[in-house]
Amino acid sequence: MSILSLHNVSKSFGKTEIIRGVNLDIQAGERHAIIGPNGAGKSTLFHLISGKYQLSSGRITFRDREIQNLPPYEIARLGLARSFQVTNIFPRLSVFENVRCGMLWKQGLGYSFRHLLGSQTELNVRAMQLLEEINLADRADFPAGELAYAQQRALELGVAIASGADLIMLDEPVAGMSLSEAEAAVSLIRKITEGKTLVMVEHDMNIVFGVADRISVLVYGEIIASGSPQAVRANPKVQEAYLGEAALAEAGGNDA
């Protein structure tokens, strides 16, 4: 069953077409990786889906509901969460509060100024549990801006999944991490996206082939291949787009 569908999605900035007629189906419960060379438009695609950018044309449906051009907060409320390539947390709030804020809407607290958060036991317990899962429980009261880089990435992840969303979109979650840090991050991602749908932008082919059920390849704003890892690996168009696997092993890099 398809949880997220893109129908002929296009996005232009002025005269430059970044995304050209992308069609994509994400199946519920699967782990789907989006790969592609630098500048292919992967982050732009994420921005389009999560509501940061408006589409130039096309449709996006989430659980059969059209979500294109909705404001980000409405999309988030429907159960779609995302993380960012450049860490995007709340630096002056504590680690605990970062995560708790992520849970507020789902908990039904909305814009209330009548509920005191201190006495929301269930909420606080769940927030602590999440911190345990992402191994930041001992840093709970630290200001988030003072964490080490890898810990901030973990918090970034935590805030994204705090809302209990069914579709988690991660934009280069292990960017800038050392090998051991990345390995730890990946097993964390696997653990916390259990039972949910995961869409991940990633450069590291080892991670991609280790984690993904299906892969889509985005080149110059178009999906040139989509399918199982083996099929994509063997696809001549993909091999042509990438000059061998060595070039893919570069971590990081910017997208349009």
Partner: protein
């Protein structure tokens, strides 16, 4: 438990101060402080907690105050009749209504755009108040008499000290509610939106709506402060709506410390004291205020509250006492240096005529005085320079993080 004790302490201080300081001047100052505390706390909801810099906050204070004065007039002429203890509520409601209206179009963005809109609105309202003379009384303002309301448990509020206790009650209740607001989802999300409005949207919150809620609540309490003002002075003018008053509350909040709930309280107390006491000793107190403000922004960006809280780590580790000596050997020369600068400024100001400076009589005509001043200034400057290294070392020692920061998840 510590929190509860702090609140009880706060209440005790509020109620006990007039027992300690019972002169007429003291009561006047305490009343001014009460008004300033509520006003500054309301401002901090916007700036410190919401990240919205407003140059026009006096609008809500002033509008609340004007309505409150008119309410007093209506009570006097029995158009309406209710206890004047509710007057601050009248002010608050007007402040809220104004904030709802103005907030509906000014909270789309924070940052410079918000600041500029607030500036524009502030100027418009202040100018309008001079045009609509029937409500605002023009340059003469509006005055009233608070003693015509129904007695409150026998009190008719002829005396300033009675007004103080009423104000203290409102200050306490307002502080409690403003504090509690910070502990609610709306209050916490206000912090989140301040830190990262984009991310807040991606976790399901409209940044605009969050800002709007903070804006309205802040307007309400500013109006309450305006109501307290009306009760205290029984008189209000355009000045209480204009940019000068808006600037003053910004100063209070900033000097006190934006990032801490207690900061604006400190700032309000400090500035009220400077305003009322210092102005008796020197004509230049505004200049000193300006200097202090600029120095605070440059060197103490977290304000006085921030300065105090900086010592929290050292205090928690029991190392606070190790800082006492370095502070003394650096602080005393620093104070003497500042004193000599102040004396020099005052000397220039009192060109030729002798005047009293603390316990001395100085005369700018006297070469000896100038020589003495330069010597004291230079000596204290160098003493301070020499000691500052020790202070830095002691500081680092007291604050050193013992364990190394771990890396990576898992």
């Amino acid at each position: 438990m510590g929190r509860f004790a702090a609140w009880v302490g706060y209440l005790i201080v509020l109620l006990g101060l007039p027992q300690l300081f019972d002169s007429v001047l003291a009561i006047t100052i305490l009343n001014q402080m009460a008004i300033a505390i509520v006003f500054a706390l309301s401002y901090n909801m916007l700036l410190g907690q919401g990240g919205m810099l407003s140059f026009g906050h006096a609008v809500y204070f002033g509008l609340g105050g004007f309505m409150a004065v008119h309410a007093l007039i209506m009570i006097e002429f029995e158009t309406v009749y209710f206890s004047i203890t509710l007057i601050p509520l009248v002010g608050g409601l007007i402040g809220l209504m104004a904030a709802i209206f103005i907030g509906s179009f000014s909270t789309h963005k924070a940052g410079t755009v918000f600041a500029m809109i607030s500036l524009g609105i502030g100027e418009l309202v202040a100018a309008s108040s001079l045009i609509f003379v029937s409500f605002f009384g023009g340059e003469a303002g509006v005055s009233a008499d608070r003693t015509f309301g129904p007695p409150f448990f026998g009190i008719e509020f002829f005396q300033d000290v009675e007004i103080y206790y009423l104000s203290a009650g409102w200050v306490f209740v307002s502080t409690v509610f403003m504090y509690l607001f910070t502990q609610t989802p709306a209050g916490r999300m206000a912090n989140a939106v301040r830190d990262n409005p984009e991310r807040a949207e991606f976790i399901g919150y409209s940044a605009r709506r969050v800002r709007f809620i903070s804006f309205c609540t802040s307007g309400f309490f500013a109006g309450v402060a305006g109501g307290l003002f009306a009760l205290n002075y029984e008189f209000i003018t355009e000045e209480n709506l204009n940019a000068v008053t808006s600037g003053r509350v910004l100063l209070m909040a900033y000097i006190g410390g934006l990032g801490y709930f207690i900061g604006p309280i400190i700032g309000a107390v400090l500035l009220t004291l400077m305003n009322s006491l210092l102005s008796n000793y020197t004509e230049l107190w505004m200049l000193y205020l300006g200097i202090m403000f600029v120095l605070t922004v440059l060197f103490l960006p977290r304000g006085f509250a921030g300065f105090i809280m900086m010592h929290q780590t050292a205090w928690l580790r029991g190392k606070l006492s190790s800082l006492i000596r370095p502070y003394l050997i650096t602080g005393i020369p620093a104070i003497m240096f500042s004193g000599s600068i102040l004396a020099a400024i005052e000397m220039l100001h009192h060109n030729g005529e002798p005047f009293g400076f603390l316990f001395l009589t100085l005369d700018s005509g006297s070469m000896l005085h100038w020589l003495g001043l330069t010597t004291v200034g230079a000596a204290s400057y160098f003493a301070c320079r020499r000691s500052i290294g020790q202070l830095k070392a002691a500081w680092e020692e007291a604050n050193r993080v013992g364990d190394a920061t771990e890396g990576g998840p898992g």
